[in-house]
Subunit: 260 residues, 2 copies
DNA sequence: CCCATTTGTTCGTATAACGCACGCTTTGTG
DNA sequence: CACAAAGCGTGCGTTATACGAACAAATGGG
């Protein structure tokens, strides 16, 4: 805790913030965490991390099996508070579902959270060709997905450049772009064209398409879809692209995404 | 804070618990809350509630418009940690989707959280006849929905009776059962029959069907569907009931619901 | 079986958080 | 438009909450 006892700090509850950091450590990358892992992930003293975890256990958000802690379904009710208050189930999900069936592809709605893409909603279709098991709340990479690039296109160049340099450049596939300049060039093109395509950068053989939903001044939200690379070499089938744009227009009309 | 300085209390961080109570106050029933409303909802001193809300604001979980606070999409990432870690998107959602299309009805997976039904996952279909805009994390009433009755059927009689008396009996529709005895009788029948039906108790003209997914010893999880009351008077169409039971069997096979 | 790691617990100490009070701002009503 | 009610921001004295170190026990892996 900084020695600076300013008004700003006195308005915040640092123990609550530390507890939320414990909750955030359960990021879905592993099925469970031990107390030692929680302390390492949060950078907290072991005793403090333990108090945070036991408080979550006591309130029903964690379960414990021997030394392993994992999230319980109760965390869904926190998300439900958001989804219910904003009318996602009534206004957003039906639009995604209808267009997913029409286009016969999975459709995802996403925003940016720090240096990751975070899915807001998604519609999967039966026997869809591509499905990676993502759900609302899932996080995806920012730099090698069409959703991520389209999100960064919604920010000024200098902001996008800073985010790229801060997060480092992973290499999910052999086809993944590897330099900040290449990625920034694609982001500028996305801003210019109003859509973007990735080809096998996040998953081999899979094309990603994304279009913006919200406009300048609003929190960037984008819409995207994935499909296998066709033999004919067409990366962005026009019907899919136009369908995503129509879907985006309908989502804008709901007004749900105006203040996120 | 009780004066009792036991080990149990020293293992918990009461400031963190108070902060989580602030987060829980955003239950989706209203689009936003003021500081005064948060303090009332949580029973906390106004200054404490304010510190909790400002900590959530600072960490990105709330946004503020004048005096009104509301949840941000970032809360979805907490749910995403659970859904990703448990493989809901890969293992549960496709099963629900497939059966929803086959049966041509919306299908919901639910568990109990205190005195409410909480949806774990759901599949909606295009042009479905019934959709109330619920999503994962949504809470539904416990006593007048088929999901709620099937959940209570998974508990011993005395537990069900206690929950009924503790939560009080609302009256969502004119057809809603009004006494604890009537409701308990239906719960016993659900336990005996292995399924339950409600007719216009939660929503006029709508039949609800539910079957259990998990067995004794596991946390009760149930599966349900809604459809409009048919003219022929058949409340539980055999194909829908059997389809739900098949879906439940497939969900059991995934193993995802074994430890929730 | 040994050793490294993890965990549970106690406890002295300090500071984070409490809650009250005051004054200002906003909102609603007559 | 004025006034009352409600809500909010802030300062501050006090103390209970939480901290983290240390020790011992438990666990897990080689």
């Amino acid at each position: 805790m900084p020695d600076e006892n300013t008004a700003q700090n006195r308005n915040l509850a640092s123990t609550f913030a530390k507890g939320l950091a414990v909750l955030e450590a359960f990021d879905g990358l592993s099925p469970s965490l031990t107390l030692a892992e929680i302390a390492r992930a949060t950078g907290q003293d072991r005793a403090a991390a333990r108090r945070g975890a036991l408080t979550l256990l006591d309130m029903g958000y964690l379960r414990q099996d021997d030394r392993h802690f994992s999230l319980t379904p109760k965390v869904l009710s926190i998300a439900g508070g958001f989804l219910q208050a904003r009318g996602f189930g009534r206004l957003v999900q039906p639009v995604l579902n209808r267009h997913a069936v029409t286009l016969d592809t999975e459709i995802s709605l996403a925003t940016r959270d720090s240096s990751a893409v975070m899915l807001l909603a998604q519609s999967t279709v039966t026997d869809g060709l591509v499905s990676q098991g993502f759900t609302a709340g899932s996080r995806l990479p920012l730099l090698h997905t069409s959703l991520g690039r389209m999100l960064l296109a919604g920010a000024p160049d200098e902001v996008a450049a800073r985010i790229i340099s801060q997060s480092g450049i992973p290499r999910p596939t052999d086809h993944a772009l590897t330099t900040a300049d290449e990625i920034l060039t694609r982001i500028r093109a996305a801003r210019r064209d109003g859509y973007t395509v990735t080809d096998s950068e996040f998953e081999p053989g899979i094309i990603g398409l994304a279009v913006p939903v919200t406009g300048p001044g609003a929190m960037p939200v984008v819409l995207g879809s994935s499909l296998p690379r066709g033999r004919d070499g067409v990366l962005a089938p026009d019907p899919i692209l136009k369908g995503l744009q129509r879907c985006a227009a309908e989502l804008r009309q709901t007004g749900v995404l105006d203040r996120l």
